[in-house]
Amino acid sequence: MTRFLARRLLLAIPTLVGVLIVTFLLLYVAPGDPVQEMVGERADSATIARLRKELHLDEPVSMQFVHYAGGILHGDLGTSYITRRPIIQDVLERFPKTLQLAGTAMLIASISGILIGVLSARHPDGLFDRLSLAGAYLGISFPVYWVGLLFILFFSVKWHLLPPSGYGGLRHLILPALALGTRSIAFQARVTRSAMLDVLGSDYVRTARAKGLRERVVVMRHALRNALIPVITVLGLDFGNYLTGSILTETIFSWPGIGRYVVNAISRRDLPAITGSVLFLSVVFVVVNLLTDLAYAKADKRVSLS
């Protein structure tokens, strides 16, 4: 277990270095000038030249990369060109809010998705199965901004049940989490359903039924556990989607998360803010993948980590 973790963490280093290089180069070739974004619409070339020199932007790209990577090695993500705040401060302020949103969405999606999937699999082609299939198609097809605006329209504008936007307590969390989770509920339900159907048709389930076990025990204890493997895979993959998909959700619901931060940084060509937050998110991805692997082992004893 420890060896597995150590190996995986070591393997993450080249991945992150790769991310760093690719992000840096992509930004370097992208059009748009960070210094012009700093000084505003009306500027003079002397000021622009001075700032470019101070930020090492007048040096060859290799030197710029050395300056930047040097800072990273010292644990410094740099200072935003635009806001003059340390990147790490901005990221740490926003990431927990995205995590909160993504976590809640994931919780809603997995609980209801798995539940719907299990129920559908119990009576394939029954009324519930058909309804949930139709619902799943809709859920997968609707883009999050559409769902989000519909939620705002009904839950806030029409029925005055929940606030339309902003960050706050549970009341503020429900709509964005539901909107973000909708697509995933549908997906989870379909994956769970097909996995359950596979398992329910297998010999050991027949044996369990033959033993005279109650149906609930057969389904929940014997079948579901084995059906969970593909579900966990989907969850792990989905988590990445949650973090990036949250950009739209955060915008619609004015949720002050990392997604909006990255988008703003990109449109202002705030190079350190972009590379810093992309690097941070890559670390999160690596960690999530690791956790997914650990979860496999937990769900299925046959999976060995060594």
């Binding site: 748009g32 519909l150 705002i152 619609i252």
Partner: protein, 546 residues
């Protein structure tokens, strides 16, 4: 202009590009329809809160530090917490603020400002003339990395100080605690307007490294809390020297999506809403919602800079032909919800120098074709038209393309995000660049000089790369002229030359429209973005609790 970084609702080039606003535009209509049909709109009851809530900012301020104020939300925030020596009213008039009055020497070179006494910063320290010196040095200091020192450059030695070659600003002299004197490099009659811009706001001597997060000024509102991408909260400064605000607190919410802001408005959760152009007609059709709308002519020009150094575009007849070929009135009505007036020059109707007798280019395709023929292009020309990806810009660009096609001008549309487009236009890589200009200060000079003077080619704002020695000398002379009547006449003259030379497609001067809750009193839509300081605004509560 202030719309630079991530231009705000009230302004320019773009909303944040990856935002789903384009895709969700259709839904806006759904929301509007719901608003109009249901009791929701205007039906929210008067709130009992003592907090004014603004929703016009659609992205986080860059900082709350005046030295970094290059965008609209930052400028607005600075105008609440800080004072300048002067300030702009909602109708964009210049009035004294921390100064009681100022005098200019007969040669127009020396400005003496007499300051208010007994004014305290929010931290209790006393405001004196040395704070002015400190603030201006700080705004210019290379270490601040503000990059926006140009409003102070007219002061002798300011440029040298900004470049790091001088230890102090030669032309800035603290005479005594309540008097400060500026010596300029050359006469500059509109200099007092520079001192009402956010970047020249007065900060105390003690400005720690995190000043941009914890600003301290002398303004009507004290900074309380900033939740990034969520809101900035201010509390009433009871000691404000010009009469404290009427309400206890003010919250500037940051709402990136316009439909969401509308939903918040309909729920009564915000007091003021900036209305998007495409939503304007539906709000105006309904009596109930129309009653909530307030408007003001804005100091914003929407135009398309024609690069006067590119191929056929060098010929004035071709540029005129382009102007004749476009039905600007139709675009204004159909795509902008009628929000504005068609431009006949670059000086907005509300500013001195505007010539009401000059008519815009009429829509005349025959004339356009004739001009093209005359210029030697009977078969038309090929041009690239660049535009941003946000607001109505792509649709305006497509419409221009269709109009120009009718006279044989083949337009290739290029759409880029604001940053890429700005860079290309400044480098001179665009044939025609559709953009806008939002004035920093209310003066015709702020349109004529940056947009069209040859000293500002490229990064200075002249993306037409227009260079006309006669125009240049008139504008330069106007800048130096003290006499108001003569200066105004020079402005008009320069504008007339530019109109004839057509270094741009003259589109429209924008009209700002806000929806204002029925319970909100004392609010006036500002013509200039720093003009609304919320001091006279209050909520008319049904039961007096205050």
């Amino acid at each position: 202009m202030m719309s630079t970084v991530l231009p705000g609702r009230t302004s320019a080039a773009s909303r944040s590009d990856a935002q789903p606003s384009a895709a969700s535009r259709a839904l806006l209509l759904v929301l509007c329809a719901a608003a109009l049909s249901g009791a929701a709109c205007g039906g929210a009851s008067t709130p009992t809160r003592h907090t004014l809530i603004d929703s016009r900012d659609n992205y986080d301020p860059r900082s709350l530090d005046p030295a970094l104020s290059t965008d609209v939300p930052t400028g607005r925030a600075v105008s609440l917490v800080f004072d300048g020596l002067a300030r702009f009213t909602a109708s964009a008039e210049l009035v004294p603020d921390l100064a009681t009055r100022w005098e200019v020497s007969p040669d127009g070179l020396t400005y003496t400002y007499h300051l208010k006494s007994g004014v305290h910063f929010h931290d209790g320290s006393l405001f004196t003339a040395s704070d002015v010196r400190h603030s201006f040095q700080r705004a210019l200091n290379p270490a601040t990395k503000g990059g926006r020192g140009w409003p102070l450059y007219p002061i002798r030695g300011a440029k040298e100080f900004a470049a790091g070659t001088a230890k102090s600003i030669e032309g800035l002299q603290v005479v005594d605690d309540s008097t400060v004197r500026f010596t300029l490099t050359e006469p500059f009659a509109i200099f007092p307007k520079m001192l009402a811009m956010p970047v020249t706001a007065i900060v105390p001597k003690n400005t720690p490294a995190n000043f941009g997060e914890h600003p301290i000024g002398t303004g009507p509102w004290k900074f309380v809390e900033w939740r990034h991408d969520d809101y900035v909260l201010y509390a009433r400064n009871a000691q404000y020297h010009d009469g404290p605000p009427k309400e206890d607190s003010l919250m500037a919410r940051i709402i990136p999506e316009m439909s969401t802001a509308e939903a918040e408005f309909e729920g009564g959760n915000v007091d003021v809403l900036w209305l998007p152009e495409q939503a304007t007609p539906s709000w105006e059709e309904n009596d109930e919602t129309r009653a909530l709308l307030q408007s003001a002519p804005s100091l914003r020009l929407i135009y398309a800079g024609i690069n006067t150094t590119h191929g056929p575009l060098r010929d004035v007849r071709v540029r005129q032909a382009i102007n004749y070929a476009i039905d600007t009135r139709m675009i204004l009505r159909r795509l902008m919800g009628g929000r504005g007036v068609v431009a006949a020059g670059v000086i907005p109707p509300s500013l001195a120098g505007y010539d009401s007798t000059r008519a815009p280019y009429p829509y005349d395709t025959a004339k356009a074709r004739a001009l093209l023929r005359e210029a030697g292009y009977p078969n038309g020309i090929d041009v690239e038209l660049w535009s941003g990806q946000t607001e109505q810009f792509p649709r305006i660009a497509q419409t221009i393309q269709a109009y120009l096609a009718r006279v044989g001008i083949r337009v290739k549309l290029v759409q880029r995000d604001a940053s890429s487009m700005r860079e290309a236009a400044r480098k001179g890589n665009t044939d025609i660049a559709l953009k806008d200009w939002y004035a920093d200060y209310p003066d015709a000079e702020n349109f004529l000089y940056p947009l069209l003077h040859s000293a500002n080619k490229g990064v200075g704002g002249n993306v037409s790369f227009y260079s006309n020695p006669v125009f240049d000398s008139i504008v330069s002379r106007a800048r130096r002229t003290e006499d108001d009547t003569l200066r105004t006449r020079l402005y008009t003259q320069a504008d007339s030359i530019a109109f004839h030379d057509a270094p741009m497609i003259f589109l429209f001067f924008y009209k700002e429209v806000d929806a204002v809750q029925p319970w909100l009193k004392g609010y006036q839509v500002p013509s200039i973005f720093t003009g609304q300081r919320w001091t006279d605004v209050y909520i008319a509560r049904p039961t007096k609790t205050k």
